[in-house]
Symmetry: C2
Subunit: 543 residues, 2 copies
């Protein structure tokens, strides 16, 4: 299954004809949001339609386009405006500000859809020989500028390899519980094929509907249930990549001491070391039971202690999602169309359990005991079920917010348990201050909220969402200022610049500091070794 | 705590004055072993004493030795014969054949004991600037030639950095359950310091008594209870290394998407990328309960299925050790001084559980159910307790075997569950045939046995032991032939060349094939970047 690109928004989230996610609550929500953010009424700021936008000229010659077609097929080399615009950028807030304003200042000269590892390799090697940049593209859902169609210095142009024709589950090893899967498969097709055989990968990021296996591996992505199923680097057994030096098939052992496992470099390589064509991944039996329920904590720190106790006592959770008071209030208000009391300061924790019925029952008892011991009030399954039903819906809110002069972005980090609360406080304060300092107008108010989203024995991640009235006309500068403040604060307070979104273009200014001079030198050496012409995804991760 | 080198055998295992591990059963065991291996009586083949051995001349000048002393301290630069011989090689069978024969053809020109990361860095950078090779050395227990004191082409000499003065637990983060520990600490001192605070790392390799934290990380080692505590790469949070390019402090986040995590290159780097000076590691609460018990399976395949079921159903074992019929018989005979019936073909599985008392009780019920379902007969705790008491004793058997004209070595691999039995059969047959083809004399018999030693959801490791009468005078060639046969078979049948011993010098001929041309190019590029003079541990891993 691949999605015809014209059925999807080229400058937003999801299907072109997707219904309004807010339904009949829409008017009430917008009124409340306008009041909350200090903009009443909300302005009308529609995106520029594609026919009104001039795309940059195509730099590749007919001969070069012919060479690409020879290595794939004529009908799989696309140069029309919709394909070029669709693949111009990912779907970050930063990307959307450009696309919606009609600033398609960079776009692939051609989009090629390879159908095998051999074709992918031939395309990569042709591009390397002719100094044409190559951007690997799955669902294109990057929120950090991971797939911007950019040529590097000295490159003649840029092609995007859209991998979504490579979308088959090739084989399942039911004894070893692994599956060999092509990298361009979308989430729903992957799970459909596995679940038809009784298995699951269990990787459900918020972008699940419109993201691919390769797109999960390349930036070290995480699904919402990563406590059980693991981030990409944990479920990745081996990967095959097309590199300028040839096909790279990594090790694929359950454990090995034969030197560093280079597979570990693939997760996080963001297309800079090669184009992932297929992967072997660990699978699980499709869960017999799921149990998602809510707990209310009067204090964020108490909720964190409960999450930590579950992780460090080995309670097998699939998900622990602990919202801070601001986020708890926001979602409550959102669901009620503004009917929420902001003076109530409490934290909602959702605990998700998946697996065999007996295991889930046992984990329910243990997690409930721990939550209650830490002051959590059990709220039953309704809050959990509601979250589960809407777990992919939040991204759909962004386009209508952008249509109304509002901005919204997310960022995430991770740190040790002992540093989680200080980091949360510092980043919250930094984002709040930066939104105030860069307010669109007097009276405009920004809000910032967050939740603990993925937990480990030694620490956890924090996921921040911030929304604010856009400073129309200078909204990129406004976003950059907020992003900079948040990122500087994360680094200064011992967090990683990203827990699962990746680096892309947006986090580039901070990666060298996070890795240190020796580390960044190592990464650059790996890049130079596999891709001396620097054609693979220029401008991301290492610049 | 560090061990004065003169209290330890320079050419064997453990303390100089260690008592005979066989005790009063010794005579019976040797008679049985001679009969079993077809050598009766066993010959007397003692090791050559150090005073009779000529060491290679020291190549470093007084000025160079003075420069080393300036960067450490005069009394921490050693050039006496015992220090040089002790650090000449690790403790592989291959190493011992050299050392016992008095062939100390390569030895460090000096042994330096740094006491800080800064000293280590100064020594490494001095060595790099003066083209002197550097061998990092912890306990020196490598069984794959990982610490042979070898200079590379163009090097003026070789120094060994003995890290055992850097042996402190620096801090414990009780909230995040991590500890910052210097790399040269021996196993017993590390566990003593952690357990005094109620914690454990839980890393107990067979070499535990005489190996160090850095020595566990560098080759991606595994403790016997790795099912629970993980191999080194799983418990490693971050590492600090002294490299020719400066101090390298890796990332240390519980999870991150900020590019590939370069920490993952440290585990398995075998000293080639830098000298590990300290590490942050994940710790656990010291287990409240331990439960080790035996099960008998009439069939190796049935035992494997039981192990797989425990792993894939999430039963939290600390250890599953499943011996094949040959190993089960051998250890039975060893413990009874030969009173065992070789016609009984069954397999002993030891299941070890560690943790909170309730968790262990629950895991006991589940593991027992699974074992019995697969035909395992529960044998109670006595076999488990006996194994636990003697879990570090096997290495002590090798020296007395070598004293009696016998050879013994181990090798290990890992593969997917679906490939475990075929790999087991192929390697067993290859080692058996190679021992026969390279027999010391007509009538000499080799034996090979193995066990599943570390398990994962997707596969497991196999640990082989083989013993045979040495072809005296050509015993290195004999060993090489057996090793070559086993290694070729492992690669041809989808196993890794090592699961936890590492590559060192012994597995060098196979690493490039295992990594593939693109992978090995990447590793070489990383090496070239950090150590362009190739001074760090020459001749290991990448040659």
């Amino acid at each position: 299954m691949d999605f015809a690109r014209t059925t999807l928004r080229w400058n937003g989230w999801g299907w072109n004809d997707a219904p309004d996610t807010l339904g009949e609550k829409a008017d009430a929500v917008w009124m409340w949001m306008g009041r909350t953010l200090g903009v009443d009424p909300l302005p009308h700021t529609p995106a520029k339609p594609l026919p009104e936008i001039a795309l940059p000229p195509i730099r590749l010659s007919a001969e070069q386009l012919g060479a690409l077609a020879q290595r794939s097929a004529p009908d799989r080399v696309k140069t029309d405006d919709y394909e070029r615009a669709f693949h111009a950028r990912g779907r970050s807030y930063h990307d959307l500000l450009h696309l919606r304003a009609g600033v398609v200042d960079t776009a692939p000269d051609a989009v090629v859809y390879p159908e095998s590892a051999e074709e992918t390799l031939a395309l990569v090697q042709y591009a390397a020989a002719h100094r044409i940049a190559v951007v690997p593209f799955g669902g294109g859902s990057s929120v950090v500028g991971g797939v911007t169609a950019r040529a590097g210095a000295g490159h003649l142009g840029v092609i995007t390899l859209d991998m979504t024709h490579m979308n088959q589950v090739l084989s399942i090893d039911e004894v070893s519980m692994t599956a060999r899967i092509q990298a361009g498969i979308y989430g729903p097709a992957l799970e459909e094929a596995l679940q038809a055989r009784g298995y699951t990968l269990g990787h459900y990021p918020q972008s699940f509907e419109f993201s691919t296996l390769g797109g999960w591996i390349a930036p070290r992505g995480a699904g919402q249930q990563s406590n059980k199923y693991g981030k990409a680097e944990r479920w990745l057994v081996s990967a095959t990549l097309a590199t300028p030096q040839g096909l790279w098939i990594t090790e694929g052992f359950p454990g090995s001491a034969a030197g560093p496992q280079l597979r570990d470099l693939v997760a996080g390589s963001e297309g800079l070391l090669g184009v992932i064509t297929e992967a072997v991944v660990k699978i699980h039996r499709a869960p017999e039971a799921k149990d998602y329920r809510g707990y209310i904590f009067m204090d964020f720190g108490a909720g964190i202690e409960a999450a930590r106790a579950m992780m460090q006592n080995g309670v097998p959770t699939a998900m622990i999602r602990l919202s801070d008071p601001d986020e708890t209030f926001f979602y409550h208000a959102l669901h009620t169309g503004g009917e929420a009391d902001p003076s109530l300061r409490f934290c909602l924790m959702l605990v998700g359990l998946e697996g065999g019925a007996d295991d889930v029952a046992a984990a329910r008892v243990r997690s409930m005991e721990i939550c209650e011991k830490h002051g959590g009030m059990h709220m039953g399954e309704s809050l959990g079920d509601a979250w589960y039903k809407g777990r992919f819906s939040t991204p759909y809110l962004r386009d209508p917010m952008l249509d109304r002069g509002l901005g919204v972005d997310t960022l995430e980090t991770a740190t040790a348990w002992s540093n989680l609360l200080p980091l949360h406080e510092a980043v919250t304060a930094a984002v709040r201050e930066a939104m105030a300092a860069n307010a669109a107008a007097p009276g405009a108010k920004g809000i910032v909220m967050s939740h603990v989203s993925h937990s480990y024995r030694d620490g956890a991640s924090l996921y921040f969402t911030f929304a604010f009235p856009r400073a129309l006309g200078r909204d990129i500068e406004q976003w950059l200022a907020i992003k900079r403040a948040a990122s500087e604060t994360i680094l200064a307070h011992g967090g990683t610049i990203s827990h699962h979104h990746g680096v892309g273009e947006d986090h580039l200014p901070w990666i060298a500091r996070e890795k240190g001079p020796v580390g960044i030198g190592l990464l650059r050496a790996a890049k130079e070794q596999l891709d001396p012409e620097g054609i693979l995804n220029p401008g991301k991760l290492l610049a």
